[in-house]
Symmetry: C2
Subunit: 186 residues, 2 copies
Amino acid sequence: MKLYDGGRAPNPRRVRVFLAEKGMSIPAESVDIGKMEHKSAEYTAINPLQRLPALVLDDGTIITESVAICRYIEGLRPDPPLFGRGAKEEALVEMWNRRIEIYLFQAISFVFRHLHPAMREMEQQVPEWGEANKQRVYDFLQFLDRELKDRLFVAGDHYTIADITALCAIVRRWHAQVSARPSAHA
Amino acid sequence: MKLYDGGRAPNPRRVRVFLAEKGMSIPAESVDIGKMEHKSAEYTAINPLQRLPALVLDDGTIITESVAICRYIEGLRPDPPLFGRGAKEEALVEMWNRRIEIYLFQAISFVFRHLHPAMREMEQQVPEWGEANKQRVYDFLQFLDRELKDRLFVAGDHYTIADITALCAIVRRWHAQVSARPSAHA
């Protein structure tokens, strides 16, 4: 197996955190998003959609999309279970992972990609869309805060992929905020 | 079990198609999105995020997010397998379902929600964002067309949830397009 990693972007980080929780490591090749290497002909042959990360299996099968890669790893090493165990728990993990992705991870990505000066070259920015997502982030964080009052982790009493998604989303929000300060260029 | 259904919107349809493929039916209560019933106090108590559909289990557990509901149903009735079978196939179904969701289903939703006159009351429209997504839809449909040249279904040789997601996205695109014509009001 070989993992095409994308550095500090939130999706590559999701897969790295997942692997660390499983106590696994996979040989990785770094693809520098800052240098637009994900748009190169070489990487486009791996993933025509030019997104990272990607996992290439020994039989040549290519798996893209972070959660699909995590699900494959879960199949290889089921313990500790990070997608839940049994129909009900698996459904609740799926629900919470998606809620975090749609209302937090993606909303933060839209704020970052459509408002941050560093993204001007990569994204056809629609600032009004970035602004519209700010309120969604705040609203969801308040909802999540209420939900987490009575339990340890996002999807219940165990750490799961939903916690990893939330962690990577919030790290990105923090990073975007602090890197936008003038002092970040010091 | 009780399913809170949302009529012809694409997410409720995904769950209904999934149930039909499993040959199952679940007692359902209709929540009329056109009449804003998904924002009522009664439904907000079921899903604070005010989205449809939602599945209430006999023990009171509430599952929201269409794919989470489908995954629960898959656990109850594994045949025919609509999420793949075995680690590699499950990962490829996850990959394709997400590709269809992110680059097609969601892009079509953005075009519809941010440009269609019928959505003015429900959505704080950002027309520029709707326009930006049109090209993404066309680009992805061309990519999908090339991919489907050599296989029967979206994720491989079997019908899966990725086909259901694609069907519901494309039905929405078609419906938005034909219902925007003046003749639709005849």
